[in-house]
Every structure is written in C-alpha cells, then in structure tokens.
C-alpha cells in the first residue's frame, strides 16, 4: 500500500470516528425508554412492558443500571448532557430533586394528575404523592407542582423474631411498647449468642432515620423542623435526650456488637437466619427475608416510644417514584404509560411479584399478609421530602457520625450535640 493510499484511508477512518462520535445515543423511535435501578423488580417490569406492548402496540424499554450509586451518577451525567430518557427516577435528597426541576428536566405532572376528577392523583397514598410535590413558596425555589409518579411505598419500622422473643421469656404477641422494655431485653441478652438488634448503621442514613423517629417522639414535629430551620439548637435538652438513647441502647446490650460498621445486607442476613431478635428495616425486607428464610416468623412494630407526649413517627411514603423527562418528544406517551403502570391491576401484580407495597391504595386488600403488616405504619409515617425544609448535609453527617461515636462509647451525647451545633452555626453563617 502506498503512503498516499494509507493517508487517505486513515483520514476517512478518522472522519468516520468524528462523525459517529458526534452523534447522539442510538434511539428506538417507537419505544418509551425507562431508566431504573431496581434490580429486584426488573423481571416484573419486563413482563409489564410486554403486556403494555400487547395492549397498545407501544414498546417500553426498561433499562436497568445498578447499583443505585451508579444509577444516580448516570442520571446526573445524562442531565448535564441533556440525554435523559423518557422516564427516569431521581435518587438523593429533595434538594437534588429540586435541582432537576429547576434545570427543566422534569415534567410538571399537575395537569395530568388533576385531569378529570383527579383519578390519577387520588389513587395514591397521600404520603406517597407528597414526596413528589413542591408546594407554593417551597424553600428549594422550585416551581410548585407534582413532579413524580409514585410506584410503590415503604415504611421503615422495627421487626422482631417471634420465636426468639419467646425464648427470652416475653410474649411474642405482646412486643415491647416502650423504650424501657427494649433496654430490659438487652439485659436478658447478656451472655447469649443471640444479637438483640441489627440494622445497617454502618450506612449512616439508617441511623439518621432511627434518630429522627425518636426526635419526633420526644419533641414533636414542630420542634424538629424548628431545629432544621436553625431556631432551636442541637444542644437543646430534648436533642441531648435523643442522642443519649443510643448510649442507653449500647450499654444495655440491646445493640448487636459491631453495629456501627454493619451494612444492611449483613443485618438482613443475621435477622433472616434467626441470629437477632430485632431489626430496623424498610418494608423491602419482606422480599429479602422471604428469599433468605421463607419460614421466618416475624412481626412488625413501630419503634417503642420514649414519651407519650408526641406520637412515634416513622419514615415512610414513596419508596420509588418515576419522573417524565420534560424535554422528551414522547412525554405524552410516557405519562400514559405511568398512568397504566400505577393502575390497580398492574400495581397488584407488582406487589405480588416483588413484595413491595403498592403506591395505589386501591389494591391494598390484594397484598400478602407480611407486607400488609407494614402498611399499618403508614398513618404514622413522614418523610424528609415532605417537611419543606432540609437539614444541611454537613450537619446530618456530623450528627450520624456523632451517634456512632456515642454507641462505641467514644463521646457523650452532650459533646456530640455541641459539635453538631457548631457545624450548624457554620453552615447557617455561610447561608447569610
């Protein structure tokens, strides 16, 4: 081959690469593309996609990107490059959701939700829909509206092994109702191989969730939100009481050894294999426990109360929500598909196939008993997404790590409260 011919071929190949490289992603013009992270639901989604295509002739392509961290990064990168799919989910804080809305990536679904008599809007649990709503004058600066369709709901509660509780001399049908009873169980466990309480407290957010449950119980919602707004310091005696609960739990022997570095998967294995009496977990655990130990006999309770002054409030509401890309050419089809996906029949199928609580309240009576136990907590649930204000991530980080320090006996509740308040003051001063 002469040098000239080689030069020409090289130029052509380079040109081809440049042209192909500048093109957008390959796109199936007839299909609605959905990006999701829910590995356990993938087979059910594929089945529903087939059913939808058979019914309407519109193909739906579910694309799974897992784990959730990788999915989250992919969605952010796609948002930056304006290559989001027709339907996608947003993982993260409400402030992240707001950023997507403000950047114009998410379609305002309010007109679709309220069309007719609001049949779409009214089919969902209030808490499930609420996490997708930005109210008027919201602190995030997002345009008010409904920006997501809840697919399922979840509550995070305590589960207990009935057999192990009986072995400890307690009535399995009368699980603990107050905090002191938990501490008493811890004392009974000393010297035994069984762990008292397991949870993924190595992953900080679950500690945060547990602490918030007790903060709501001890000081009430208004005071918790006032703290987030910066009107009540973390050094307030009520917050110190919340933090000190972790010391009491650790000292009583109720908490599993090594809980501060425990990931939730380990906690789930221990509970499913009957090595732990209690666990703190979300309703997704029904599916997990069923897979690990189908014969596991367990009950579901709210975390036992410390105070009778305020109700115990747990985290719950929408488990997963899907959003429509505001810039998609197929947004009308995407909304129609989500309408179909959240109708009673499809929701019942999803609940049965994946053991997740459906977001559609009309099909509750069709769900398995183990799952139904978790729905009892829905009335006591709240979610940071509906509070209207968000705590600074640095403060949450300091609070959660501080709780870990309290559990291992490294710091006192007072010392952690002071450290957290110092960071809160720093973040507040930055905002000014």
């Amino acid at each position: 081959m002469s040098r000239g011919v080689f030069f020409k071929i090289l130029s052509l190949v380079s040109l081809a690469f440049v042209i192909l490289g500048c093109g957008g992603p390959a796109e199936n013009k007839n299909a609605i593309t959905v990006w999701h992270w829910m590995t356990d639901r993938e087979p059910a989604f594929q089945e529903l996609a087939k059913r939808y295509e058979a019914k309407t002739g519109i193909r739906v392509s579910f694309e799974l990107y897992a784990p959730s961290d990788a999915y989250s990064r992919k969605v952010r990168a796609a948002a930056q490059g304006s290559t989001l799919p027709d339907i996608f989910g947003i993982l993260g804080e409400k402030s992240d959701f707001a950023s997507f809305v403000k950047a114009g990536h998410v379609l305002d679904l309010t007109p679709y939700m309220e069309a007719g008599d609001g049949s779409l809007k009214n089919r969902f649990f209030n808490n499930a829909l609420a996490v997708n709503i930005f109210n008027k004058d919201n602190s995030y600066g997002a345009k008010p509206g409904i920006y997501g369709v809840p697919l399922d709901v979840m509550t995070i509660q305590m589960v207990y092994n009935k057999k192990l509780l009986k072995d400890l001399g307690s009535n399995p049908d009368k699980p603990p109702v107050n905090f002191q009873e938990l501490l008493d169980i811890g004392k009974k466990l000393k010297g035994k191989d069984t762990q008292g309480f397991v949870s993924g407290w190595g992953e900080l957010w679950m500690i945060d969730c547990f602490a918030n449950n007790y903060a709501f119980n001890i000081m009430g919602k208004d005071k918790v939100l006032a703290t987030i707004r910066g009107e009540v310091p973390y050094t307030d005696p009520d917050w110190i009481q919340v933090l000190d609960l972790f010391r009491q739990l650790a000292e009583s022997g109720f908490l599993a050894s090594g809980i501060v570095t425990m990931v939730n998967k380990t906690a789930e294995q221990l509970f499913a294999n009957e090595k732990a009496v209690f666990a703190f977990n979300g309703s997704w655990c029904v599916n997990v426990y069923k897979g690990m130990n189908p014969d596991l006999n367990y009950g579901v309770i709210l975390p036992p109360k410390v105070s009778d002054k305020y109700p115990m409030t747990i985290w719950g509401g929408a488990g997963s929500s899907l959003m429509v890309n505001a810039n998609s050419k197929k947004k009308e089809d995407a909304v129609k598909f989500l309408d179909w996906l959240t109708a009673k029949e499809q929701q019942a199928y999803l609940a049965e196939a994946t053991n997740n609580l459906p977001a559609n309240k009309e099909c509750l009576k069709d769900i398995p008993q183990a799952l139904a136990n978790f729905t009892k907590g829905m009335d006591s649930s709240t979610h940071p997404f509906v509070w209207g204000v968000s705590e600074f991530p640095a403060v949450i980080d300091a609070l959660d790590k501080g709780i870990q320090s309290i559990i291992i006996g490294e710091k006192t509740a007072e010392a952690v409260a002071r450290e957290v308040q110092k960071i809160k003051a720093r973040e507040l001063s930055k905002r000014k």
Partner: protein, 293 residues
C-alpha cells in the same frame, strides 16, 4: 512537498492528541475551573466563588483527618507491605521448590476486586460475637485477650483496614521486585563471592543499590494507590465509621453526592492531586540522591 510531509506527520499524531485532549486535558481543566465555583452538578447555574472552596478546605477538619488516615494506611503499606513483598521476591528469586506455585499464590490477592476482598475479610473478622473466625482461633489457642472487635473498635479499625489493604496489595510489589531482581546479572554475585563477600555484603552492595529504581517505582505506586483507597473501606466497614476510617476519596464523594457540592469536591480533588504530585516529586528527588550516593 515539505509542507505535505509535515502535515502527514501531524495527521499521524492527531488521534493520540485528540484522545489525550478529550479524555485527559479538557476534564482536568474543567475540574480545575469548577473548583472556583459553587455548583450542584445538575442545574446550569454556577456561582463563581473565587478561592472560597480552597479556603474552606483549609479549615475542614474532616478533610485533614481523612488525609491523616490515608497517610497512616500508606505508611503501613510503604513499610510492612513493601518489605514483605521484597523479602518474598528475594526468596522466590532463588532456586527453591514450588517457586512458580508461590508466585501464583502471591499474585491472587491483587487480581481480586477490592469489593470481594472486603467481603471475604468482613466474613473472617466481622464483629458479630461468636462469628469472628480470627477471634475464635485466638480463643481456641488460649489467646482470648487478643480477641477484638477488629472493625468497630476505633483504636484498631484503621490498622485493620491497612493490614487488609497490604494483604491485597503486596502481590504487585512482589511481582515488580521479582522482575527487578531478575535483571541483576548473576555474574556480579559470582564475582562478589570470589572476592569473599557473604550474602549480607552481596545484598547490601549489589542487590540494594541496583534495586533502588525499582524500590522507588514501587514506593511511588504504593503511595498513589494507597492514598486513593476507598472501595475496600466501603466494603469492609461500610464507610467512614465515625470518621475513623474516613479517607480523602470518601470525603470527595461525600461532597459530590451527599452534599451535591461539585465545586467543593473539585477543589478537594485538586488539593488532593497536588499533594500526591508533591509526594511523588519528593520521592523521585530522594531516589535520585540515593542513586548518586
């Protein structure tokens, strides 16, 4: 004709220049530029904050704690891991039985994913009472006082991470040291033996001086690899564990994902990168002096 020839030459380097520009230079400039902005990573609005992110790093106690933690792990890797790798390479460089078998065995940990290594070791040294294999062995040998909560005791959690990291990483050093040792001509040792040198003298006057470039290479790779540790920590202890196992990359991730502060995360990345460059430069200068001496 001359112009055509020059153009042709440029065409040949164009693909490499394009790739390096797109995948290395532009991202680097972008990261550097973002370090001067406050940006959530999603919206198109970026607020110029000048050096504010860098000033904040100076007073960010968590950041410096994470750097100290990574330095501690690096120090253990530089000494314990590399000395072990060097000694094993010396052993395998000799005519010993099953030396190929040992080479394969020593190289298995480095080819395993860090997630897998973390999970394996988590199984071995988990902190569930009665389920920790090391503790059970220690108790079985009558050394129960040495049993620990290896992962959740703040005094030893970081050391545990460092030891597991060394277990995973020493195979790389072993391979490079072994390759280096095999390049030393055997005639040098034979001549030394004729001159009456014993094994120690041969090691001190032949092996060590000739291995200095290799030792420096391994040291630089160890520093760069260990300072950027984070996957192993996530799989072993679940994350930053009350700050005791916090490392710079986890802090950068926390800024980026937890706080959605891409600008601050970029400033942390630049600072971290600069620190690594400075350390590598010092190591290079030090090795140059050692070679000249």
């Amino acid at each position: 004709m001359k112009v055509k020839s020059i153009l042709e030459n440029y065409v040949f380097v164009l693909p490499a220049v394009t790739i390096i520009t797109i995948f290395y230079i532009i991202p680097f400039i972008w990261v550097f530029q973002l370090g001067f902005f406050e940006w959530d990573g999603i919206t198109s609005t970026k607020i110029f904050v000048g050096l504010a992110n860098f000033k904040e790093i100076l007073t960010d106690g968590n950041w410096w704690q994470s750097l100290w933690n990574a330095s501690y792990i690096t120090l253990i890797a530089l000494t314990f891991q590399n000395i072990l790798a060097f000694l094993l390479a010396l052993a395998c460089d000799r005519e010993i039985r099953l030396k190929n078998f040992y080479r394969v065995i020593f190289f298995i940990p480095p080819v395993l994913s860090e997630v897998v290594v973390g999970m394996i070791w988590r199984f071995v040294i988990n902190d569930i009472d009665g389920a920790n294999l090391i503790n059970r062995a220690l108790i079985g040998m009558g050394l129960g006082n040495l049993a620990h909560h290896w992962l959740s005791d703040p005094k030893i959690a970081l050391t545990t991470v460092a030891i597991v990291h060394c277990w995973k990483g020493f195979g790389w050093g072993f391979l490079i040291f072994l390759a280096g040792l095999q390049t030393i001509p055997s005639q040098l040792y034979e001549a030394a033996r004729v001159d009456g040198a014993n094994a120690w003298h041969s090691f001190k006057n032949i092996t060590l001086p000739l291995m200095i470039p290799v030792i420096v290479l391994v040291a630089i790779l160890t520093v760069l690899g260990t300072m950027q540790i984070f996957v192993l920590i996530i799989s072993l202890v679940g994350g930053e564990f009350a700050g005791h196992t916090s490392v710079p990359v986890l802090r950068i991730l926390a800024s980026m994902r937890g706080s959605s502060r891409f600008g601050y995360a970029c400033a942390q990345s630049i600072t971290f990168g600069l620190i690594l460059v400075v350390i590598s430069f010092i190591q290079y200068r030090f090795s140059k002096k050692a070679r000249q001496a």
